[in-house]
């Protein structure tokens, strides 16, 4: 503890979101600071790097109007922390955790570091409880379980917003005796999208908290918002024993913010200009999902990201896919065929599905149904390529049956509009489809 306030007016340089302060007596990595601009604005900042008595500060907020001569910096002697309480539920905050719903900030004695701590792997419990999203392509074929992190890979212009809404409308846990909450995090969204999402959240049955960073809000807050959201989620899940679903949209904006800051720091660039540590950085967010032994609550994470140029090998989806437990991939082709949700199940995967399905969770033959659907549909899609070359007439009757199956599967099973389907409805539909075509 420092006994007196450490206030400096020894700024030596300002570039973008970065401020260099000289002649420091004492400073710690990660320490928070307040910058007071000449027009008396208070802006938060964090120490990123220290070299002798010079520190590099990253500013959370607009640096416009700062100058070298009059701007002051006060070091706070603490790491970035936020207060946490159940009272967060039902509230809306910005990326610095200030309320934006015209209500006063709540009080709490519970302060936590926003970066959190890694869960000890030996303390983790194996996620194994089914979550019903109401989407056939997810519930039936890429099942989500409590404590999983499952991203949605979207493309520009595809209805990821509507898919999230569809999930929010239905999402409940099969054994619904526990409290359930949604933490909705929006990074760099437009005001239009905001009102769309808020409408969906308000219609929901469960409690929610929203952290909103608008497209015109400071870029730095885009890096803070998911950390705040996950700290809140961890608190509710592991201290208040709730089942928490965290939705973060859009992670591509997060990665772009990361690149922007990294470039300003003149760091060495990795692929496509993204910093080399992006994998670790994303992992620090995504890995906060999970379950812990002897704790009832769970933290499930559903990040949404946009694949630049529809390219799944782009660093953003690529690194995400390496960390998360599967992915739900939207396809432009499905979308142009008027299928909603436009999920292409072939590149989709849920690594934890195995644990969440079967007797006692969904249905005994669930795995088998899903495998058969996959096999037939993949076959049908293969034949579609052949059809393009030799034409439908040149194909055998059996092959044509596969073609028809793939078509009907997309039209009737994947395509469900904005109607939620229960897991029984999904599985019955799958069985009915396979009986109709009798491909085995």
């Amino acid at each position: 503890m420092r006994l007196s306030e450490h206030k400096y007016n020894s700024i030596s340089a300002i570039t973008g979101q970065l401020v260099f302060v000289e002649n420091l007596i004492e400073a710690k990595i990660g320490e928070m600071a307040v910058i007071i601009s000449p027009d008396k604005r208070y802006i938060e900042a964090e120490i990123l790097e220290i070299n002798n008595n010079t520190a590099l500060l990253q500013v959370y907020g607009s640096t416009q109007g700062l100058d070298i001569k009059h701007t002051k910096v006060i070091l706070q002697d603490s790491l970035k922390e936020i207060p946490l309480s159940r009272e967060m539920l039902g509230r809306k905050f910005n990326g610095s955790f200030n309320p934006i719903d015209d209500l006063p900030m709540f009080f709490s004695g519970n302060w936590r570091q926003i970066t959190g701590y890694p869960i000890n792997p030996s303390a983790r419990a194996n996620p194994s409880e089914f979550i019903e999203t109401g989407v056939s392509a997810i519930d039936g074929m890429n099942t989500l379980v409590k404590g999983q992190k499952l991203p949605i890979f979207s493309c520009a212009g595809l209805p990821s917003k509507e898919l999230v809404t569809l999930i929010l409308r239905n999402v409940r846990l099969s054994k619904n005796e526990k409290e359930f909450a949604v933490i909705f995090t929006a990074l760099g969204i437009t005001h239009n999208e905001y009102s769309y999402y808020i409408k969906a959240l308000e219609k929901m049955q469960a409690d929610y908290m929203a952290i909103i960073n608008f497209a015109d809000d400071p870029v730095m807050e885009r890096l803070l918002a998911p950390r705040i959201a996950l700290s809140a989620a961890e608190y509710l899940a592991f201290e208040e024993n709730m089942d928490v679903l965290t939705i973060i949209t859009d992670m591509s904006n997060y990665c772009e913010a990361l690149r922007e800051i990294s470039t300003a720091r003149e760091e060495l660039q990795g692929r496509r200009g993204y910093p080399g540590y992006m994998y670790s950085d994303l992992a620090f967010l995504y890995e906060r999902a999970g379950r812990i032994q002897n704790i009832e609550g769970s933290l499930t994470l559903l990040p949404v990201l946009t694949m630049p140029e529809d390219d799944i090998t782009h660093p953003i989806p690529d690194l995400t896919g390496y960390i998360t437990e599967g992915q739900i991939v939207l396809s432009r082709e499905m979308h142009s065929n008027d299928i909603f949700p436009p999920i292409d199940v072939l590149p989709c995967l849920s690594r934890l599905m195995q644990k969440g399905i079967g007797e006692g969770q969904t249905r005994k033959e669930h795995r088998q149904i899903s495998n058969r659907l996959y096999r037939h549909y993949a076959q049908g899609r293969e034949h579609r390529k052949l059809e393009a070359i030799v034409g439908r007439d040149g194909m055998s009757e059996k092959d044509r049956l596969y073609l028809d199956f793939a078509f009907t599967f997309e039209k009737e099973f994947i395509n469900q509009g904005m109607n939620s389907r229960g897991i029984d409805q999904t599985l019955d539909l799958a069985l009915e489809l396979m009986n109709r075509f009798n491909l085995d």
Partner: protein, 558 residues
């Protein structure tokens, strides 16, 4: 020796402390670190924990020992972090989340729930020579052999056989020298051995793809590169479960925490086929998940290989599985960047290649100093960005490893698992292992494999033709070949890790492929006799029915 911090940059810290040695262990305000660079005014330290909260002027202290692990009985079924701290003990100290612990706190690295007992070969008054086995300690199904790594010119004064702890001196000599149950070894230095030997014995994995097409030798190295969702982890875990070895060391290097939870749970339940005891009792887990400190991730694979070498020195066949080496390379890159080193390809430091080469060279079959011989086999998974195999880590490993198992995204999307691409993958051990397979499992092993390869190769060209003229426009023999190839792919190469089929003994492996190929030859013969493909199949089905019925009749008459 004490000094203080002058600069902090990510996971590295600069100090003004002089007189340090390279790769020496230091404490930085109670955190563990390792010296990675020296200069005239001080040193640069790589810190193995979260550096947040460190400040200028904080104390740096020399410990005068290199980064090392402690080796001895009680490691099996443990789960360690990258610095060999037991995660279960850490959990008792800091709860379900990992928080920084004081480095001076003593950790019980070993499990002493069952007391160990020393069974000496020697008596009081005896003399010993270098490398001679002086006795053993039993841990589960395994023995730890106690020997001296140097000559001691004295007589044994006393021997302790019970209540062994981490500091027990088992044998004390008259001149005061002692031999301990536990030894410390620096992780970056390979453990010594008498010589490396080239024997050719396969490591049976129970995976048909590997055993039959791309066999792995004991003491060999294999890499499994694949994009996300291609099943690297599942394949590694299947191998960890079924591989015909004594000890498995599994390193989760920068991967998912939930996977480790799953592995722990499964390994507690599953039984080792050889001993019928839980798999965990032959396993040591070294875990540094993607959200644990980056520098410790860099150290984790060295911690693991040193533990593996220790069991090898006790005369066991050891398998080291690392998932994934790319995450290690990224950690190396991150540290290199914070040291402001000149970057090589894709930002990786230029010493990436030599570091990897030195690492994979720690595998092998060796005659150990104590006269025993053991083997250390490595299987390393690689996560190439964007599934692009031209990236530096894959390319560096390709130069030094013996088996390349390329995982194919296309196959994975079609749900063909393990998604090993049968054209691109290869094994350099094949030639030398064929004799073993022919001798132990089937004389035809080599010929059948070549025939199988031939059919798969032919299929590829035929598919191209089929796409132009359509299947119906092809010759009967070609259509037959396509059907057989499909059978090989779906019934032989695909192997479901979640079913009974997860393990396939070589006897079974050869039987399945032999049956598929025999049927192919039979029908091919019919075709040359002038029958059409449909007729040939019909006739075969009729024959099968007949033999089936004959079999049933026989049963009835019994």
């Amino acid at each position: 020796m004490k000094g203080s911090i002058v600069k902090i940059c990510g996971p590295t810290v600069h100090t003004d402390l002089q007189g340090l040695r390279l790769y020496e262990r230091v404490t930085v305000k109670k955190l563990t670190g390792e010296v990675v660079r020296l200069h005239s005014k001080g040193a640069v330290i790589q810190v193995y924990e979260d550096t947040r909260g460190l400040g200028i002027g904080d104390e740096v202290e020399s410990l005068d020992i290199p980064l090392s692990v402690t080796l001895g009985p009680g490691m099996l079924s443990s789960i360690y972090d990258g610095l060999q701290r037991p995660l279960e003990t850490l959990q008792e100290k800091t709860g379900p989340f990992i928080k920084t612990v004081d480095v001076t706190e003593v950790f019980e690295i070993f499990k002493f729930d069952k007391p160990f007992e020393f069974i000496p070969n020697k008596n009081i008054g005896d003399t010993i020579t270098k490398g001679e086995i002086l006795g053993k300690i039993k841990e589960g199904n395994f023995y730890h052999y106690i020997y001296s790594s140097k000559d001691i010119d004295s007589k044994i004064k006393s021997i302790i056989t019970e209540n062994i702890t981490q500091d027990t001196s088992l044998i004390t000599f008259e001149n005061g020298e002692t031999i301990k149950a536990y030894q410390s070894w620096p992780v970056r230095i390979p453990r010594p051995f008498k010589k490396k030997i080239s024997t050719y014995e396969p490591l049976i994995t129970g995976q048909r793809n590997i055993d039959f097409l791309f066999s792995l030798a004991k003491g060999g190295t294999a890499i499994i590169p694949g994009g996300f969702g291609t099943g690297k982890t599942i394949l590694e875990q299947s191998i960890a479960k079924f591989a015909d070895v004594d000890i498995v060391i599994y390193v989760g290097c920068g991967e998912r925490g939930n996977e480790m939870a799953e592995l722990l749970e499964e390994f507690r339940e599953l039984k080792d086929q050889k001993t019928n005891k839980p798999l965990l009792e032959r396993t040591v887990l070294v875990v540094n998940t993607s959200n644990m400190p980056v520098a410790a991730r860099e150290a984790s694979i060295f911690t693991a290989v040193t533990i593996a070498e220790y069991y090898r020195d006790n005369g066991y066949d050891v398998l080291l599985l690392a998932d994934s080496i790319s995450r290690w390379a990224e950690a190396l890159r991150e540290i290199s960047t914070s040291l402001e080193e000149m970057p090589g390809e894709e930002g990786y430091p230029t010493y990436l290649v030599s570091r990897l080469a030195a690492y994979t060279e720690r595998a092998g079959v060796t005659d150990c100093i104590n006269g025993l011989s053991g083997s250390l086999t490595m299987i390393l998974s690689v996560s190439p960005p964007g599934g692009d195999f031209t990236e530096p880590v894959t390319q560096a490993l390709l130069r030094n490893t013996g088996v390349f198992l390329m995982l194919d995204t296309g196959l994975a999307h079609r749900r063909h698992f393990p998604a090993i691409n049968w054209f691109q993958s290869y094994s350099l051990y094949q030639e030398n292992l064929d004799d073993f397979f022919c001798e132990h499992f089937s004389n035809n092993w080599k010929t059948i494999r070549n025939r199988c390869r031939e059919i798969l190769k032919k299929e590829e060209t035929l598919r191209e033709v089929a796409e132009i003229v359509g299947i119906s426009g092809m010759q009967d023999s070609d259509r037959l070949l396509l059907q057989t190839a499909e059978k090989i792919r779906t019934k032989f190469l695909a192997q479901n890790a979640y079913s009974e089929d997860a393990y396939s003994h070589p006897n079974e492996t050869i039987k399945i492929i032999e049956n598929i190929l025999n049927e192919h030859e039979k029908i091919l013969e019919k075709l040359t006799q002038g029958l059409s493909l449909n007729e040939a199949f019909k006739e075969k089905r009729a024959n099968d029915l007949k033999t089936e019925k004959a079999g049933e009749n026989k049963d009835e008459t019994k």
